[in-house]
Symmetry: C2
């Protein structure tokens, strides 16, 4: 039904350039050609869709000057927007959530700082300033800001390649701040230049693999603290770590340390298990780390286990973030190193934060402007770099807790940073006797959450190529290093993208019995080929990257077919119909490929016929005069119509 | 008609996993789910399509050992294949063609060698050995092998950045051979690794721009010889060239030189014009250069114009290519430079040769195996580098002449190289008095053919983005340098590719009056929206690079629509139908995007409905359990069916 009426109607809205095949057939079907658009409109729209896809200035349209100013202010500082609607009920939610994530972040921060080869207080510093800034500028309501395991590790490895963190702690710290500064600049710049979409090029599959690999690497790093090993390798790959673990087996290990660590690790994992079992006990795994810190610290304090070789934190600087602007390298050869490391760390941090933001935004259905978000994250890291913080971003685990604890707005981040502030001011000395083994256990139990086996299995099921990217990233991180893993992840992601624009699918179509429908004969084996006609569907836009492939592939379909026909001495192919419904666009190279195809076919005295080219394609077929060169009556609305013309007898057999 | 019967039939071939919406509607349409494929088959097919798209081993299937050997030999040396069918008639064609391109190439070679900052004989050397090798290994019948303007210029610029060709001629030459060697290795490697498709990433548009720019640059370079300027800039950008031209205006120019040059330039251009006017006079522009060389040389010889400051070639080494294996840098720090330059020059040469090969192959309709072709070109350049040749490739102009002169096989290249051989052996001394001005005129008139304004106009008409790439490459070459231009060309090409997989089109669909057809409402303004339903078509495969954009874009369509509806207080949207016909594939990120979309919609109490997902997509919707989570009865064969369910009343208004 649809088909027929559709065509009747479409005849009505053909414009001057549209064409008729009525001279060849009794079916008056027409393929409409869209009226030409002014090129600058076309170009502007393209640009707009690329950089301003989310149409950020929409709300500014026809507003008063003062209103525009307010809107602008709210755009940069969303707090002025949601702040007006803030109330006690919301505060209650934020308060609880804030306290919960604070209890979770304090022990984690101390541990993560060690991954970045920095003194423990720098972890706490990074949970004080950045969350405050973010609360004012960020648009996510659920993200929990602070140092995270993966970025800490990445930063640590990249930095220690340049400066030794032990021999030359001060220089190392300066480079860390420099990297943090430029990480922030990178993030903000990407946001301001509306290049947010760049981070989409790191595919989900690659991230899954990378995260899992990083988690393993981090857990392995913890064996140092967990087993109480003194001399430990600098490398992060599994081989050298295992070496230094076993080489120190019979003398380097400390059983007291292992005992403490193991006990609390079991406790933490059990808490995690309970939290998973029953969502409303989410707070148990959330406060478990702090509890184990308190208990273990007290235990060590009374038993003086530190004298039995149990390594302890010893000393955490008291007081809040000292200013560090003057420590950033703005000159010298460390500048460029800082920039390089900053860009890498910044991008990774960004990927993590934006992924978290999006996930929770879609759970509560509010929109996040990726680019605005990047500006916020950038600003917060720039500010952080000037106040002795290292790269902070959104933490998967803490954000989840924040969400489950019922946070309403970014105020929960403010609460958290206040708690961290008080900790820094008053109770850091109490951490003196905290055994490193506990921090190790906490980190291990935390990062295990980054290993998402279900996701990996799903990826395997859905897309094998994605799985390769995932595994590539994973093994890259585990067996080589974090950078290598990252590099592999990115390159495989790109390879996949380029592959799909280079090798699109093509399919041979056949007539499904008793219908006018033509379908992929591999999918419908009972579909019958039309004698003397070859129907091929091209499943992609035709661009320079695939135009030659498509041309050659089509010719090969033809050659194969003709060989078979010759073998069975059946009539040779007279018409080659290209079904173009999925061809959403075509460029100059594509047109050339079609022209070459047409030329080759003429040499073989096979007629080229096009079925159902889309509006964009139709337009270009005309501007390029190709439509005329193959003959306008060779372009049909549907394959069925084409067949009507090419072999009327067959078409009518229903 | 089609539509209805189609659905009836497709109900028959649903498999176990296919689904029914009959409980919701009276239309028993089904969306078939393809039976699952073994993953390794899936993976193998993917690999095969990528690297062995042309199925090169097809002919080897079930053949005897000896036959396989013969076939293998013929695969590497096609001459053994077509040679058996060679006859006198073909030889006649090849002889004439060979002599014609020889007469054209000899003066060009001498000129092009100067572009590469090499002594004239090296141009001739490069027209002797490489064509011979190619004739045995190459699969194109029309390509004319030898030095070409663009590659000579590119090589010249790249080399002189490393070594001064005047102060240090010998080292320079050694580096040239090294680069040539590795250019050959690059080409052969790409072919052997089946990475031929990589050169497709340089888009046609970019090549057009690059060629035109190179042509201008080369022509400008010729002003040195044409005006008889002694001291000339090393830079190739238009600004510095014009500077050194005008700075030397009142003393540096030589009127006799200009007179000779101008006269013959007019003559050459006129010959070109005649050739264009009437195709059967193609030979006039072909032999014009040689004629002008002979005439001008004789003229200078009798008038002793060289004493009046007319610069002449002076000396061309007599005899054939000396061996140069021992001159290639296989060690030292020039090795890496040679490799780098070789890769760049090799790729550019490849692009040119393969483009030519394809064009003429499609004109005569024979197939060219791109990868095999690359091995041939690579082998010929490796051999060339060992016999004092620099990078040779297919020449646009000479190949065209070759084709028009009626060449039948690569034998025409053999003829040409024999003529070049004789030239080298006996008549090079006669070139002593040839004025450089003539070579300049010959090069100018030759490279003008590389400026394809019609192509540029066509590109502008068809695709604005392509045009940007084209202009970018052009101005890059003209105002900066050949490398910069090339870099711009490649990056813009990639940008375009990434853009199209990042920002696919989406369209709002409406019901065309009196039909069951739903079309883009921008294309068909009279199409009416379905109350309470929003129909969106996604025009691309959904991959990680665009999944977030698509999700956000769809949500924005919804928000805008709802705002409008609220303004007009009409009923809000209850169903969002995503028309997936053009969605040829989806990956894990894509599935996640759909899940997030679904979640957001649930929050807004809008139901997500899918229309006509393709087989691949259907398969993945099921493996990912997404089909179940949105409800199998939410997936329809066509938009019309979906509407039947979502708002039956509206659907029936015809």
């Amino acid at each position: 039904m649809g088909g027929r009426i559709e065509e009747l109607v479409e005849t009505k809205e053909m414009d001057s350039r549209s064409l008729s095949s009525s001279n060849r057939t009794n079916l008056p079907y027409k393929v409409g050609v869209p009226p030409k658009e002014k090129w600058w409109n076309e170009f502007n729209n393209r640009l707009k869709e690329t950089f301003f896809a989310d149409d950020p200035l929409r709300s500014f349209k026809d507003q008063s000057k003062s209103r525009k100013f307010v809107l602008g202010l709210q755009a940069v500082f969303p707090i002025f927007e949601w702040g007006r609607r803030y109330n006690l009920a919301k505060f209650k939610g934020d308060l609880i959530a804030g306290l919960t994530i604070a209890s979770l972040c304090i022990p984690q921060d101390i541990g993560y700082a060690r991954l970045a080869n920095l003194a423990p207080q720098y972890g706490l510093y990074s949970s004080f300033v950045p969350p405050l800034i973010y609360a004012f500028m960020g648009s996510s309501r659920d993200i929990a800001i602070g140092p995270v395991a993966v970025v800490s590790l990445l930063l640590g490895t990249l930095l220690q390649n340049e400066i030794d963190p032990v021999q030359n702690a001060f220089e190392y710290r300066r480079l860390a701040f420099t990297a943090t500064f430029f990480a922030g600049i990178t993030q903000a710049t990407l946001g301001i230049l509306r290049l947010g979409f760049l981070i989409d090029f790191l595919s989900h599959a690659a991230v899954v693999g990378f995260m899992a690999g990083a988690a393993i690497t981090i857990a392995l790093q913890q064996l140092k603290g967990f087993l109480g090993i003194k001399k430990f390798t600098k490398n992060t790959d599994i081989v050298s770590v295992m070496n230094s673990v076993f080489s120190s087996a019979h003398h380097g290990w400390n059983w007291q340390t292992i005992l403490i660590g193991a006990t609390f690790l079991v406790f933490l994992l059990f808490a995690k298990y309970i939290g998973k079992k029953n969502k409303k006990f989410f707070w148990i795994p959330a406060i478990a780390p702090l509890i184990s810190v308190v208990l273990s610290t007290f235990f060590v304090y009374i038993t003086h286990a530190e004298e039995k070789g149990v390594q302890i934190v010893k000393h955490i600087e008291k007081g809040i973030n000292p200013i560090s602007v003057n420590e950033i390298f703005f000159t010298g050869d460390y500048l460029m190193k800082g920039v390089r490391i900053g860009i890498v760390a910044g991008m990774v941090a960004l990927t993590e934060a934006v992924a978290i933001g999006r996930t929770f935004a879609s759970m509560k259905d509010y929109n996040i402007d990726g680019n605005k978000e990047m500006v916020a994250l950038g600003a917060m890291n720039v500010a952080g770099s000037m106040t002795s913080c290292y790269v902070a971003t959104g933490s998967f685990s803490r954000s989840a807790v924040n969400y489950m604890a019922g946070c309403e707005t970014a105020v929960s981040n403010i609460i958290m940073s206040i708690v961290v502030f008080l900790t820094l001011q008053f109770i850091t000395p109490l951490f003196e006797y905290t055994p490193n083994a506990i921090l190790a256990s906490i980190i291990i139990s935390a990062v295990l959450g980054l290993i998402d086996i279900d996701a990996a299995i799903l990826i395997w099921k859905i897309d094998k190529f994605d799985f390769v990217a995932c595994m590539g990233a994973f093994f890259g991180v585990v067996f080589a290093s974090v950078e290598i893993g990252l590099l592999i992840a990115v390159s495989i992601s790109f390879a996949k993208l380029l592959l799909q624009v280079t090798r699109p699918r093509t399919a041979l179509l056949g007539k499904i019995p008793r219908t006018h429908v033509y379908r992929n004969i591999q999918q419908y084996p009972e579909a019958s080929k039309v004698p003397g006609v070859l129907i091929i569907r091209v499943d992609s836009a035709i661009y320079f990257s695939n135009s030659n492939y498509i041309r050659e592939r089509i010719l090969r379909w033809l050659t194969d077919e003709e060989e078979q026909l010759k073998a069975a001495n059946l009539p040779q192919i007279q018409y080659l119909i290209v079904e173009m419904s999925p061809v959403t666009d075509i460029d100059t190279s594509g047109i050339h490929a079609l022209e070459e195809l047409h030329r080759s076919l003429q040499k073989r005295s096979v007629e080229l016929v096009l079925a159902n080219p889309g509006p964009v394609v139709m337009d270009k077929l005309y501007t390029s005069k190709f439509a005329n060169s193959i003959g306008e009556d060779k372009i049909f609305l549907t394959v069925a119509d084409a067949i009507q013309t090419c072999s009327p007898k067959f078409a009518d057999e229903v």
